[in-house]
């Protein structure tokens, strides 16, 4: 840290720092391969960011390498300018692959800047607007309704007050009496297990048709659902808006929308009450901050998507602290120990699933680089995606 502070206080850092290397790290562990981006500079500061993307590891690594060449020799503190160059000069803009590459790099640039200035990233985004951050557990697991309810209860016993689960699998375009009864049964068991004070979030994962989404929302109305995430696929925001117009459960969406432009129609159409940009895909921290500002205009809240490692969790918390319309932060509870061991800096937990603001410079994440290298050196695992199928063998959306 000493060297860092010297740089910041000696002279304008933007005139002094240059990017020397941009290195993607693929870690073979956990639910999906993790992709970290390391941005090295000539003053000894290293920034890190996360660009993990299920099923598309090689593509994201390739995209990072495509961009790396541009960044080397550049001043890492011109974050917005580099974003413009990375996004706009590609001509073939956007999409989740280049979006993830840019996002990981962008987080790393904020990390560099924060370390250079000796400030946590939230202080560079206008400063804290809250004293602590509420997290929800992406965590209940299980195959049978009873297992899921039991898993919910365990999380509540561990102190969580907000849980998210994905109760639907392959649902036909119109839900029949069996599907509706099953959904009600599952939710009844969960409510019975956790009681009425816990917030229960439902992730539909885009698996429902607009018709089935309305049917399901009506069937589950009485169980006091906190929000209904991606009730339909995000490709046509007007379909989402039709669902929003028909149901009373608030709608959340956004993990599969990228950049401010991707969110525009959702806001204009009133298709969602909560936006969930993922800071590893949407374009990064500053892009998410812009999306949040647009959401604020429409009285829409923010719940950043994050089923990834604690690196992205910390980047997200930096944004959450500086964002007035922040609602709740996603947190994956069941990383394997080998992933948790990558992180030398634990969260400071408060009761009920809240965390204290991180005050270390940059993103506030220190990696155990020996552990990183150990996972990197594992044999390459290239898994295709988990998948769902309809009963006749046709593809269902996962």
């Amino acid at each position: 840290m000493d060297a860092v502070v010297t740089v910041a206080s000696a002279e304008r850092p933007d005139l002094k720092i240059r990017v020397t290397e941009v290195i993607p790290h693929v870690l073979f562990a956990g639910r999906t391969n993790l992709i970290f981006v390391e941005v090295r500079t000539d003053v000894g500061i290293t920034g890190i960011g996360e660009a993990s993307l299920e099923g598309k590891t090689e593509a994201v690594v390739g995209a990072i390498n495509d961009i790396a060449e541009y960044l080397i020799g550049q001043d890492p503190t011109r974050i917005e300018h580099h974003w413009q160059t990375m996004y706009r000069h590609s001509f073939w803009r956007g999409g989740v692959i280049i979006g993830s590459a840019i996002s990981g790099i962008e987080q790393a640039l904020w990390d560099v800047l924060g370390k250079a200035l000796g400030a946590p990233v939230h202080e560079l985004l206008g400063g804290r607007v809250r004293d602590r951050v509420r997290l929800y557990a992406n965590g209940p697991r299980g195959t049978t309704p009873e297992e899921v309810a039991e898993s919910c209860l365990r999380l509540v016993e561990a102190g969580w007050e907000a849980l998210k689960l994905a109760p639907f699998e392959a649902v036909p375009g119109v839900a029949g009496p069996c599907e509706l009864a099953q959904a009600r049964h599952r939710m009844q068991l969960i409510r019975d297990a956790v009681g009425s004070d816990v917030d229960v979030l439902i992730d539909c994962h885009g698996r429902l048709s607009p018709t089935a989404a309305v049917q399901m929302a009506e069937a589950l109305e009485e169980f006091d659902i906190f929000f209904f995430e991606e009730p339909v696929l995000p490709e046509d925001p007007r379909a989402m808006a039709e669902v929003a117009a028909a149901i009373s459960i608030p709608i959340a969406t956004g993990e599969r929308l990228f950049t401010k432009w991707g969110f525009r129609d959702v806001l204009a159409l009133g298709a969602a009450d909560v936006l969930q940009p993922d800071l590893a895909h949407c374009g990064g921290i500053l892009e998410a901050r812009k999306i949040a500002a647009a959401a604020e205009v429409s009285f829409v809240g923010m719940a950043p998507h994050n089923p990834y490692s604690w690196l992205l969790t910390m980047a997200s918390i930096q944004l959450d602290l500086a964002t007035p319309n922040f609602l709740i932060q996603e947190f994956l509870v069941d990383h394997p120990a080998e992933v948790e061991q990558l992180f030398a800096t634990p969260f400071v937990w408060l009761p009920g699933g809240w965390v204290e603001p991180p005050m270390a410079p940059g993103l506030g994440v220190e990696l155990d680089w020996d552990a990183v290298r150990a996972l990197e050196q594992r044999p390459y695992t290239r898994t295709y995606q988990p998948s769902l199928w309809h009963v006749d063998g046709s593809v269902a959306d996962w």
């Binding site: 300018h81 590609s90 001509f91 692959i97 590459a101 290239r382 996962w398």
Partner: protein, 383 residues
């Protein structure tokens, strides 16, 4: 059709061509067939090559004739749908699968899509080129001599958010010079390349109208359909758009607006031949014509010709005419236009073109950033 054919290998070949690389996908089967597709995406070489690799676990061992089923799995089971990088990789694979299927059945791909609805396919040249009106005019005259009856040019570079008449005129002058050089009969199209703001685009369209412009392409950036619709309502020139709209879902709002004249899906970035066919069917519902985008190699040109053959609402086919040495050298043969500016229907089984891998090695991939435009103050401008 029941088949025991299996995919045993997926190969990629990147060919260097100036600042960018052309990416080819080869899919090999256990009975010795090889399908060819193109997955080029400007300078995003490593990303696309990676995306093809990511598809390997799905493809290896699969029956190559279940093209739609594999597409569904690749697109929908991916969860992270679409985007140009992924779709380019998927399209390269998809076209290779159609190539295999056509070869296996002994018919050109267009026969698998309902058969040709026309006898020949009108081409338009992505060209003329030139920094001055005089250079543009000369280049246009050369293209007409080659047989082209339709030409598309991109006359503007970096433009401010509001531009004076003089700035707009810098591009209009090139269009005027080309019109004077080629006469009244040739179709002229203008590609704004998304470089204009909506108000500048409206003024530019009005300034172009006297020169008889067949369509104005991408007057503003994609990403905001409402902005494009506002331009289209005011433009005296029909609006064309689509190379940066990926999959059919991206087109629905534009089509519903009933203001767009021409859709330009690209087989590569649009996700393949079948997806482009579906986009064209949506366009047909709205009385909109289709002019497939194609600034790529002869491989995607051939794929586009199969598509064009079967589309009732086809308008004309883009082809890039710059005679870079790699283009002819890397393929078995090039599709050519006749004296009236038409391509013949493809007639060989499958895609009807193959890659000369040994020749391709003479043009190794380049490391490079895409060409860039900058505003006067050093800020990024859209290329």
């Amino acid at each position: 059709m029941a088949t025991s054919r299996k995919i045993i290998r997926v190969r990629t070949v990147a060919v260097g061509a100036g600042w960018r690389n052309y990416i080819f996908v080869l899919v090999d089967t256990d009975d010795g067939l090889t399908g060819l597709g193109e997955a080029s995406l400007g300078a995003q070489t490593n990303a696309v090559l990676g995306a093809v690799k990511d598809l390997e676990p799905l493809l290896l061992g699969a029956d190559p004739s279940r093209i739609e089923h594999l597409w569904q799995q690749a697109y929908r089971h991916a969860f992270w749908h679409g985007g140009p990088t992924f779709l380019s990789a998927l399209a390269g694979v998809e076209v290779a699968l159609w190539d295999i299927q056509g070869q296996a059945l002994g018919v050109p791909i267009h026969r698998l899509f309902g058969g040709p609805v026309r006898d020949r396919i009108r081409a338009y040249a992505n060209g003329p080129r030139g920094d001055t009106p005089e250079e543009m005019a000369q280049s246009a005259a050369d293209l007409v001599t080659q047989g082209f009856t339709a030409l598309k040019m991109a006359p503007w570079e970096a433009m401010p958010i509001l531009a004076s008449k003089g700035k707009i005129e810098s591009g209009v002058a090139k269009v005027r010079a080309v019109r004077e050089a080629v006469g009244a009969e040739v179709d002229l199209m203008v590609d704004a390349h998304g470089r204009l703001s909506p108000p500048v685009a409206v003024r530019a369209a009005i300034a172009l109208a006297p020169f008889g412009i067949t369509f104005l392409e991408e007057p503003c950036l994609p990403g905001n359909a409402a902005a494009l619709v506002r331009i289209a309502r005011k433009s005296p020139v029909p609006i064309a758009v689509g190379e940066r709209h990926y999959t059919r879902w991206a087109f629905t709002e534009l089509l519903d607006s009933r203001t767009i004249g021409v859709l330009q899906p690209d087989i590569i970035q649009g996700g393949g031949i079948a997806e482009a066919r579906r986009i064209a069917a949506l366009a047909e519902m709205h009385f909109v014509s289709v002019a497939p985008h194609n600034p790529w190699s002869w491989v995607n040109t051939m794929a586009s010709l199969h598509l064009d053959a079967v589309l009732p609402n086809f308008l004309m086919q883009e082809v890039i005419t710059d005679l870079e040495p790699w283009k002819d050298a890397t393929v078995s043969h090039r599709p050519v236009i006749d004296a009236e500016g038409f391509f013949a229907l493809p007639s060989a089984p499958g895609l009807g073109i193959s890659l000369d891998i040994e020749a391709a090695k003479r043009f190794p991939p380049v490391e490079g950033r895409p060409p860039a435009l900058w505003h006067d103050d050093g800020a990024v401008a859209d290329w």
